[in-house]
């Protein structure tokens, strides 16, 4: 009998079974109905991969674990003694289990005493999280089960290419598609757009104008749900004041999307009995990402969708534990339970669970890009510990971040393969991977899942939790403060989260093993979990959703004669994130390419299959030209999975959103040229 578990990759966390072999077998589970994409089917290929890390290294030489941990602790202590606790920073990941994310945050705040901790989810979910929290009082990617989508008559996907990034989800869109109710918003005809009845292809960076134009139409053509707005929201009048200035023809001139198409989209959503509006990274990864998501939430609220069974707004979380990863305290401004680190009551509660004085907890630290950008700079961290992330490839303005990582006195990276970041590290700590350890994940619908150990971890590796414990003890912490058994850590996490927005206190390994479907909040052991949030009211005092005006301002940089094209970045089906895992799986082999309209390619003297350079004010990357008429002639698309000269992030713009600190990954001014 196989071990029932979940896929190591995206936030859909498809159910799968792991068999001896090792091999993947299908398993029935609601989100994927037994289906998997190529990444899932080939996931075991990485278990015994020749490049798998099996020995710690210190300054490039193999070492024992004791030597490596002693060296890390000694150097950390020296740096801290000389430069203070904030000279040591921690960078986590949205793929880490809840237990790891939790313990990493505790390790930073208690064992290191540093405020400088953030994680790659900042590059992923932060805009939607901030906008959702502000509007609804709680941020859970999908406040309803994924399977609810299957009954929808209309679904609008904004900047979300699910047919490539989470293919099994497409199964739940069948009904909407059959009814001509699938609408996509994307500057190119992605695999998902090809399924849609209506494709809106806005100029990159103009989504907010599109949302405002649609809201305008909803009101001006009488589709707004006035009684819902009166009963369940505040702030509509101010929102309308802005949207009133976005009559459809103006939105058309700014976005390039026909006013008639905007009307059609509104009519489809308003005319459907059950309709959903879902956002993805395409609209979130902007220096105006929070405003853009706010614009979409305002539209959804105007149509009366959120907090109604069978309809809603949601954000499609990207990374495997992108949801749980943002709830347990590895984010610069948060403590476990989705608590704010500046809230005295939250600090007192968490400090109580940790057995430390509340005053000893540091305050908020730098956000991901700012943290990386400060490394080795005067006043910035001199040491960085990385778990579950590969910022050398995934951070924007990659050449700059590369320089900053190289300027550190100490870079420690825990990984399973020699990622691009691990290659820059002074100390590399090999860790087990998903099938080799227990832990919980929280999927895109806020359901807590148990991933189980199916195979032994290779000799020479050490679990992340154990590494944190070993380091904490060497830094002077009592061992019992840093448990290393996942179930034990989870029990502590439950207590720390109790009473917080993301309350896990009623979730136990026992209930999960028994197969219970538990969506947080789940405040006690008898509580059935909360598959659907907001049905009785939103999470703000008074129960109303808060609308706030957001005006379109556009991308951080403008096109110039020298850089006349927009670059937008994203993912392709066969690769995952920075590609450290998937690039090593032969079945997933993919080549770096840039999607170009044939006219645009011809103007640059390039043909399909040629090598090209894409040049921005930050830097340039190379890619093979893939001509397609399915992309706007003023736009290029490149995936960000590839390393070295092919890093799309060499060209992306590091402008940050003022609220979420999300970088502007999705729009940069570039030119296309022959290499």
């Amino acid at each position: 009998m196989g071990v029932p578990t979940h896929c190591p990759y995206c936030a859909l966390q498809c159910g799968m079974s792991l068999e001896p072999g090792p091999a993947v077998a299908a398993r029935s589970f609601p989100v994927n109905e037994g289906a998997l994409c190529r990444k899932g089917w080939s996931a075991t290929a990485l278990l015994d991969h020749p490049e798998r890390l099996r020995t710690p290294t210190v300054d490039g030489r193999a070492s024992t674990w004791d030597e490596a941990l002693d060296a890390v602790a000694a150097r950390l202590l020296a740096i801290r003694a000389e430069h203070g606790p904030d000279a040591v920073a921690v960078f986590g990941g949205g793929g880490l289990t809840n237990e790891k994310a939790y313990l990493l945050g505790k390790f930073a705040r208690v064992a290191l005493g540093t405020a400088q901790i953030d994680y790659n989810g900042r590059f992923c979910m932060s805009s939607a999280a901030a906008a959702g929290l502000r509007a609804f009082g709680v941020d859970r990617g999908l406040p309803f089960p994924v399977t609810d989508l299957a009954a929808a008559d209309a679904v609008m996907l904004v900047g979300a290419n699910v047919a490539e990034t989470m293919p099994p989800l497409v199964r739940h869109l069948r009904r909407a598609r059959d009814r001509g109710g699938l609408i996509t918003v994307d500057p190119r005809d992605s695999a998902t757009a090809e399924l849609a009845a209506l494709r809106l292809r806005p100029r990159p960076g103009t989504d907010l104008a599109l949302a405002l134009g649609m809201l305008h139409i909803a009101v001006a053509e009488g589709h707004a749900d006035k009684s819902y707005l009166d009963a369940r929201t505040t702030g509509f009048a101010e929102v309308w004041r802005v949207a009133a200035g976005w009559w459809p023809e103006r939105a058309e001139a700014v976005t390039g999307v026909a006013a008639a198409d905007l009307r059609a989209a509104v009519e489809i959503l308003a005319g459907a009995e059950r309709a959903y509006l879902l956002t993805g990274r395409g609209t979130e990864q902007h220096a105006t990402g929070v405003d853009q998501v706010t614009g979409w939430i305002n539209l959804a609220l105007s149509l009366g969708l959120p907090g109604r069974e069978g309809s809603g707004y949601g954000c499609l979380t990207g990374q495997g534990n992108g949801q749980g990863g943002r709830e347990h305290g590895q984010k610069a401004d948060q403590l476990p339970g989705y608590r704010s680190i500046t809230d005295p009551a939250a600090r007192a509660h968490v400090a109580g669970v940790w057995g430390v004085p509340a005053e000893s907890l540091p305050g908020p630290g730098r956000s991901a890009f700012e943290l990386l950008d400060a490394l080795g700079e005067p006043g910035g961290p001199r040491a960085l510990i990385v778990f579950g992330s590969n910022p050398a490839v995934s951070a924007p303005d990659s050449a700059r971040i590369h320089r900053r990582l190289s300027a550190l006195d100490l870079l420690v990276v825990a990984d399973l393969v020699p990622s691009e970041t691990a290659r820059l590290a002074h100390v590399v700590l090999p860790v087990p991977q998903w099938a080799e350890e227990d832990g919980t994940m929280t999927n895109l619908e806020g359901r807590v899942l148990l991933r189980r150990r199916a195979y032994p971890a290779p000799p020479g590796t050490m679990g992340d939790l154990r590494i944190l414990r070993e380091l904490a003890v060497r830094l002077g912490q009592p061992a019992e403060r840093f448990p290393d058994e996942p179930e034990e850590v989870f029990a502590e996490l439950r207590r720390a989260s109790a009473g917080g927005l993301a309350d896990y206190s009623g979730v136990t390994y026992e209930r999960l093993r028994a197969g219970e479907a538990l969506h947080w909040p789940c405040p006690d052991a008898a509580h059935p979990g909360t598959p659907r949030l907001f049905l009785d009211g939103f999470a703000h005092p008074g129960g109303r959703a808060r609308m706030r005006p957001a005006e379109h301002t556009g991308p951080a940089e403008a096109l110039t004669p020298d850089r006349p094209l927009w670059l937008t970045t994203g993912r392709v089906l066969a690769q995952y994130q920075s590609g450290a895992q998937t690039r090593r799986v032969p079945e997933l082999a993919t080549e770096m390419r840039v999607e170009v309209h044939p006219d645009t390619a011809a103007r640059a003297g390039l043909a399909d299959g040629d090598l090209a350079r894409v040049v921005s004010a930050r830097g340039a990357f190379t890619a093979r030209v893939h001509c397609t008429t399915g992309i706007r002639a003023d736009t290029l698309f490149a995936p960000f999975h590839f390393p070295g000269e092919q890093r799309a992030n060499l060209a992306t713009h590091p402008a940050l959103d003022p609220v979420s600190r999300m970088p502007e990954f999705k729009v940069a001014a570039v030119r296309l040229e022959r290499p």
Binding site: R38, R171, D189, V219, E249, A253, A258, A260, D261, H597
Partner: protein
């Protein structure tokens, strides 16, 4: 710096908003703060209320009182209530006023203000007979809005055809047909000669058009009376340089009151943005953008811009209510007229505005989405999720796999290709049988 803005319409509201934090006083002759005139047709039909169309604005507003005089030397304006306001910078944003044609005894309504529209809305009932003078954009939009309220509307257009300045004969004919389809009668080539208020219009061909209400939508003229009183250079409209400065260096003008204004809000708002930047230390200059004519009414979608040359590509589908004409000059979009082709219109207007090179395939440009969508998935991919091509499936089948889909895992992801695979296998089995 004390900034006084004369007029509180769309241009002034935008300017005042952009100058937030500065000492700005806006003086508006209308009794209410600025509102969006583009939405007035919706107020007429009752979909939006007067409150719904308010604009944001800014500064201190003096409402319901006109600026009656300017003393440029003293740098002071006088308001109609006799009070005075000193200024360091004066901005004229007095807009335009409707022009009514010289028809004997004419007592027509005009449609410029919110009150004009509210007053009309109060009088229109299903069946009310209304004559609209003028077959331009405003006349047609108004006529279509009134027709949607089930009024009996006739457009009296002295020129031989509708929108005679932007459309050719064929396009006008298609548009006229569309208007009729939506319940608007059109009398082209007819001129009103006398108005019998409450009864109707006598036309130049001697016929009588019964009409309880007559509306003049026969164009607007810049409001320059204040500029003239201040002794500024005026020629049909207020004359400004590319910094929007009038002949007095402390007085600026923006929007519909400026000479040569196209009467489009995009133009007025661009000037407001430019002036806001200049008044706060910026150097930006006002560079006019090519105007775009849009007719916006449910069921009728017209876009026209630029110029058509004799080589223009043309296509006409009168029965389908569609017409397209497109000129490409030196590889760029030189002009277009598009009726009932909203997708192409959005794309072409974009290319025209940005000056981007036109795509090689011109027909596709004109037809927009009407042409069949592009090629099949790349590389003969049948199943994207599993990365399985058609060739791969055929090979697996030929190699004897009983279920090539299972062997290749095709169809195990999003499940979208299941039917395609079943078809393919059925075909293979058919071929081998």
């Amino acid at each position: 710096m004390r900034i006084v803005i004369a007029g509180y319409g769309m241009a002034a509201a935008r300017l005042a908003e952009r100058l937030g934090g500065h000492d700005v006083t806006v003086v508006g002759e209308e009794p209410r703060p600025a509102y969006n005139r583009l939405l007035l047709a919706k107020v007429l039909t009752g979909t939006l209320t007067a409150d719904d169309v308010a604009l944001t604005g800014g500064g201190t507003a003096r409402l319901g009182v006109a600026v009656s005089d300017v003393d440029p030397r003293a740098r002071r304006v006088t308001l109609a209530d006799g009070t005075g306001l000193p200024y360091d910078v004066l901005v004229l944003a007095t807009g335009a006023r409707p022009w009514t044609p010289p028809v004997e005894n004419l007592d027509a309504r005009v449609l410029r203000t919110l009150d004009d529209h509210l007053a009309l809305a109060a009088e229109v009932r299903p069946g009310t007979e209304i004559a609209v003078l003028g077959g331009g954009v405003l006349g047609l939009e108004t006529a279509l809005a009134l027709a949607s309220m089930r009024a009996r509307v006739t457009v009296v257009q002295p020129a031989g055809r509708l929108l005679e300045r932007v459309l050719d004969d064929t396009a006008s004919a298609v548009l006229e047909r569309q208007c009729r389809h939506h319940g608007v009668s059109v009398l082209a080539g007819a001129t009103a000669v006398r108005h019998e208020p409450g009864e109707g219009l006598k036309l130049d061909d001697g016929t009588f058009l019964p009409a309880a209400i007559v509306i003049a939508a026969t164009g607007v003229r810049p409001r320059t009376e204040l500029a003239e009183r201040a002794g500024l250079a005026v020629d049909g409209g207020v004359i400004v340089d590319d910094g929007l400065r009038t002949s007095d260096p402390r007085v600026y003008a923006i929007g519909d009151c400026v000479r040569g204004a196209p009467g489009l809000v995009a133009h007025a708002w661009r000037q407001a943005d430019v002036l806001a930047e200049r008044l706060t230390g910026g150097e930006r200059r006002d560079v006019p953008e090519p105007p775009v004519t849009r007719l916006r009414a449910s069921g009728v979608d017209l876009t026209a811009f630029g110029r058509l040359d004799p080589d223009a590509l043309r296509f006409s589908d009168p029965a389908g209510g569609r017409y397209g004409a497109l000129s490409i000059v030196d590889g760029r979009v030189g002009g277009a007229v598009l009726l009932g082709l909203p997708d192409a219109a959005a794309h072409l207007a974009d290319l025209h505005a940005t000056g981007a090179p036109a795509p090689a395939d011109r027909l596709a440009l004109l037809f927009g989405r009407a042409l069949p969508a592009g090629a099949a998935p790349a590389g003969g991919l049948v199943c994207r999720c599993a990365g399985v091509t058609r060739a791969f499936l055929v090979d697996a089948w030929r190699a004897g796999a009983p279920d090539p889909a299972a062997a290749t895992r095709a169809g195990t992801g999003c499940g979208d290709c299941r039917d395609r695979i079943a078809d393919l296998i059925a075909r293979l089995e058919g071929e081998s049988a």
